[in-house]
Symmetry: C2
DNA sequence: TCCATAAATCGAAATATCTCGATATCAATG
DNA sequence: CATTGATATCGAGATATTTCGATTTATGGA
């Protein structure tokens, strides 16, 4: 848990929005045939919703992954991203511990 | 509660450190004669501990104040800063609500 | 009123972040 | 193995943040 990296990753409204969207698969188009059973959302769907360039979103997802907020899983040519709830919970706890008085 | 501004204010290790220091008055030199009853710590003390320039610390304290993390109270030529525990708690709650799944 | 001290504001240089288009990589398929 | 489609990486321009020293403002005291 690198608090520094986590905070700077969250210091961007689009990245926070992506984490929000990823709470619910139904924020994105239905899975393509053959992907129905896979968890997570591919980059193209996230890009479409965020309306930023492909490279920017790929970069953002890399940052979210490095910070531990999402898990990436490659299946064929697609990378599926999903939230890492445990890691997100750990961050929230760390923020509490750092900010709130003993 | 402007989450945007709060997060960007916390996106700096020195500002977070200052909030940490302000948890306990005894992290700073004893109050000057006549200031014993006043809550909070003056800018000069914070500057001394942070080892950054006076203007930088004044700026940081302004940001922390705008974000609602500290309360400033002027007494004579000194400005005393102290944590705003309610506001800090509100921020932590907002982070929880934004990040954790329903 | 003049001076000294504390803090705030200003202007600027160095560094970091954002965001893009172009290019590279990697996997599937004919 | 050449092509296509998905994603990752690269290089760069625009913008934002960090941090400073210099200046300004506010206050209290001689």
């Amino acid at each position: 848990m690198d608090l520094e990296k986590s905070i700077s990753t969250l210091n961007n409204p689009v990245r926070r929005q992506i984490l929000e969207w990823l709470k619910d698969r139904s924020n994105f188009p239905p899975a393509l045939p053959g992907h129905e059973d896979l968890e997570g959302v591919c980059v193209a769907y996230i890009q479409e919703k965020a309306k930023l360039s492909q490279s920017t979103i790929s970069n953002y997802m890399g940052l979210l992954k490095q910070a531990g907020f999402v898990i990436a899983e490659r299946h064929g040519q697609w990378t599926f991203y999903r939230r890492d709830e445990n890691s997100i919970q750990a961050f929230v706890t760390a923020v509490q511990n750092e900010l709130l008085k003993p």
